[in-house]
Symmetry: C2
Subunit: 135 residues, 2 copies
DNA sequence: TATTACCCTACTTAATTGGTAGGGATTTCA
DNA sequence: TGAAATCCCTACCAATTAAGTAGGGTAATA
């Protein structure tokens, strides 16, 4: 299952991409328009900022804004930041690889074989979608 | 993340497929060879049987066995039985569809658009893999 | 009829999810 | 200059799920 965190994060990014200019948009506005708990969204936007996907401005007239062109924001990045590894098992993960405890031979493992294909197909989708493609 | 339940279930199915004949194999044997907690595996095999993927025989010399040719056992079925919906959000699920609470227009939703592609690509993999393909 | 092996229910422990509460710290504008 | 707006940060919490464990019941076979 996709977490609400990822879902809301994606919606917020989309919202910001839809806004014409690069003016900061307040959390409250995004939360209201996208039906998201404001405090929860706050923490999500914070992680997006910490990971270089958003910029922020404090004080009156402040808010969050995209710091890249939506075409340059790829879903691989967004998914990894919000949802974590794209692979369903660590032993097929590119960025979070870990050997299986119980599995003596990775090459022989049926789960490994299947999940490798699933990872590749998901990566394919994420690589071919930028934020701009989702508008 | 793939649950251990699914992982172990897949390994057990693979194990049974590798066995030449159609003789019942005991839970204890599968558990030992695949490094799985026996009691946990027991409950997994039970759900596989309840869902028509395995047959069982009680008493001495009993155990579990495949009731179909591995070529006829598709990963779509296995994944749905063990892991649940293939889609990452209910609003793009074929077998477990549910409307999003917060989303006014499904067609306009960026999450929907992305997850639809992810579902299709995963389905593609699962449809193209039978148990026989994983040996 | 004793043993083997599946069948079933209930409980437990730890981690994660999806929040909520509450108060900073900083910037802007009047 | 100071008040209001707004982001920033930490801590806590309730519900759910995952991954088992425990313990016995039931059916089949030798």
């Amino acid at each position: 299952m996709l977490s609400k965190k990822t879902k809301y994060g994606l919606k917020a990014l989309t919202y910001l991409a839809k806004v014409e200019g690069r003016e900061p948009v307040q959390i409250a506005e995004i939360a209201k328009c996208e039906n998201i708990s404001q405090k929860f969204l706050e923490s999500i936007l914070l992680t997006l900022r910490r990971n270089g996907l958003l910029g922020s401005k404090k004080g009156k007239g402040g808010g969050y804004y995209l710091i890249k062109d939506p075409k340059e924001i790829h879903m691989t990045t967004v998914m990894r930041v919000l949802e974590g590894p794209i692979a369903m098992v660590p032993c097929v993960s590119l960025n979070f690889y870990e050997k299986c405890e119980d599995c003596p031979d990775e090459e022989e493992c049926s789960v490994h074989k299947l999940m490798l294909q699933v990872r590749d197909s998901a990566l394919d989708v994420y690589r071919n979608n930028s934020l701009a493609d989702l508008l």
